[in-house]
């Protein structure tokens, strides 16, 4: 699909409506997951357990949307036998839905750790480290969802490249926390909670990358999964 052109409509208005429906639901799901992650991060950093509960509650809606979108995609595959851009949209949607649901699960995990920390033991220095990574991951996720909504292939490629920095930041934070545990064994329990949060954030970034890869598949028809980041840059430039 040439992204400069607006997609033309199907002769079958019903098919058009079905594809639009799936797309809209996917966008809704993306929005929900984004706010789930925001709630979870804020809860972890500010000790606001009410926000953590919010994030956990939203997961029910996210799970329900996953089921519904999968069902709609199955229906389109069976009844419409889509081809070309339509086929790629349905295939990418199934994959992205899966990633969004996993991001929701990570938000729940972060929220649970946040509730634990809010009951005592929050560590300011560890919190600062988490904040650093959380800011990058949050913006990566946001940009990834935007690139999907707008089908921006270059932005999607940038996300795949940005993940390398996040992996580095994660490793550095993990090393720092491990040495903190050795230096202050009394903080073990809280530190483990922070380690869990860091791990979850790193996973969220990986899922954001998966979504970006689907944007490239959708717009360019190339599968860039498991490729070197430089190859990805070449492919889309």
């Amino acid at each position: 699909m040439n992204q400069a052109d607006k997609p033309r409509v199907h002769i079958s208005a019903q098919f058009n409506a079905e594809l639009e429906g799936v797309r809209n639901d996917l966008m809704t799901m993306g929005g929900l997951v984004e706010s789930q992650i925001e709630h979870a991060i804020e809860a972890a950093l500010d000790g606001d357990s009410a926000r953590a509960e919010n994030a956990i509650e939203l997961d029910l809606e996210v799970n329900e949307l996953e089921r519904s979108i999968d069902e709609q995609c199955t229906r389109i595959l069976v009844l419409r036998q889509p081809a070309a851009g339509d086929l790629r949209l349905v295939l990418a949607t199934i994959k992205v839905t899966n990633d969004l649901e996993r991001i929701g699960d990570e938000a729940v995990k972060i929220s649970r750790q946040a509730i634990e920390l809010s009951e005592g033991g929050a560590l300011e220095s560890a919190s600062a480290r988490v904040r650093e990574l959380a800011v990058s991951v949050n913006s990566l996720l946001k940009d990834s969802l935007d690139s999907f909504a707008r089908l921006q292939v270059n932005e999607a490629a940038t996300i795949i490249l940005r993940d390398d920095d996040i992996d580095e930041a994660y490793t550095a934070a993990k090393t720092w926390l491990t040495s903190e545990i050795q230096a202050h064994p009394e903080t073990l329990e809280a530190s483990l909670a922070y380690l869990g949060i860091l791990k979850s954030l790193e996973r969220v970034a990986d899922h954001a990358v998966n979504i970006a890869e689907q944007v490239i598949f959708l717009t360019r028809g190339v599968d860039v999964r498991h490729l070197d980041t430089l190859v990805v840059r070449d492919l889309v430039s």
């Binding site: 997609p7 033309r8 081809a83 070309a84 339509d86 360019r220 028809g221």
Partner: protein, 271 residues
């Protein structure tokens, strides 16, 4: 290949044995006749041998006209004129010196509606063999059986070879017509909507037959049924308004067409 054709070189490796030298090489082919001076415009296309090439496109796009050029069926149209070249081996099909009868033995054709002769099943297949000069009854019987087996019809008709062909079902008649064509051992088989008048089961039998036959000959199929084109062909050519818009491996044309026009057609969109 003319410049404005989207050549879908694709990323997928075609099935083994399909990346062959061309069976037919069309160069700058244009065709017009009195009612339609631009029926085909500047078409260049190399059809890989021993594989299935599907030609798709809306009604009136020129796909059947293109198919009919390949065995000179368009000669029957009043006031037809060709430009360009269609190479079959070293021979230019469009040359006035071409022996059209001999050509059609090499490039057989099957139409939308099965058209068996009002004769017995056996005679339908034997007819062409006799015409080609084979006299021995034994050899003819062998070749008839072989053709009927290749057309996946033998088991259904072996006990009633003397029955009239017209007693067969539509699907069986179509396979009989294919048997009649392949009995002459053509190098190329042209199929013009071969399954569009058949029920789904007979259609699947024809598709299965196409799959079997491509190991020994080159098949070019014109079809309105895009799912069928996707299922049976190795390569797909998309035509619009007398022009070839895109050509490439079927898998790539159907998952990532290079041309916007192809995309719109196969996804059922309009501008």
């Amino acid at each position: 290949m003319t410049e404005d054709v989207a050549v879908n070189e694709g990323r997928s490796e075609p099935e083994e044995g399909t990346r062959n030298s061309p069976a037919i090489k069309i160069t700058d082919l244009s065709l017009g006749y009195r009612d339609n001076p631009e029926a085909l415009i500047d078409i260049s296309l190399a059809i890989p041998e021993r594989s299935v090439t599907a030609i798709i496109g809306a009604s009136g796009c020129g796909k059947s006209t293109l198919l009919r050029c390949l065995n000179r069926m368009n000669d029957l149209i009043d006031g037809v004129n060709y430009e360009g070249q269609i190479l079959f081996g070293s021979e230019n099909i469009l040359s006035p010196r071409t022996n059209v009868t001999a050509l059609r033995r090499q490039i057989g054709m099957v139409f939308q509606k099965p058209n068996p002769f009002p004769k017995s099943i056996f005679e339908n297949v034997a007819y062409g063999l006799k015409l080609s000069g084979i006299k021995s009854r034994r050899i003819i019987e062998e070749l008839v059986e072989q053709a009927l087996r290749s057309a996946a019809l033998w088991d259904e008709v072996k006990d009633r070879l003397d029955d009239s062909a017209l007693k067969l079902s539509q699907g069986q008649q179509q396979r009989l017509v294919i048997a009649r064509a392949i009995a002459l051992e053509p190098k190329v088989l042209l199929l013009d909507e071969p399954a569009s008048s058949l029920d789904p089961i007979s259609t699947l039998r024809i598709e299965e037959l196409i799959y079997e036959l491509k190991h020994s000959l080159t098949i070019i199929i014109v079809t309105h049924n895009m799912q069928q084109a996707a299922r049976v062909s190795d390569f797909t050519a998309f035509m619009n308004g007398g022009r070839l818009i895109e050509f490439g491996p079927t898998e790539d044309v159907f998952t990532f067409p290079k041309s916007r026009e192809t995309e719109d057609y196969i996804t059922g969109r309009y501008g």
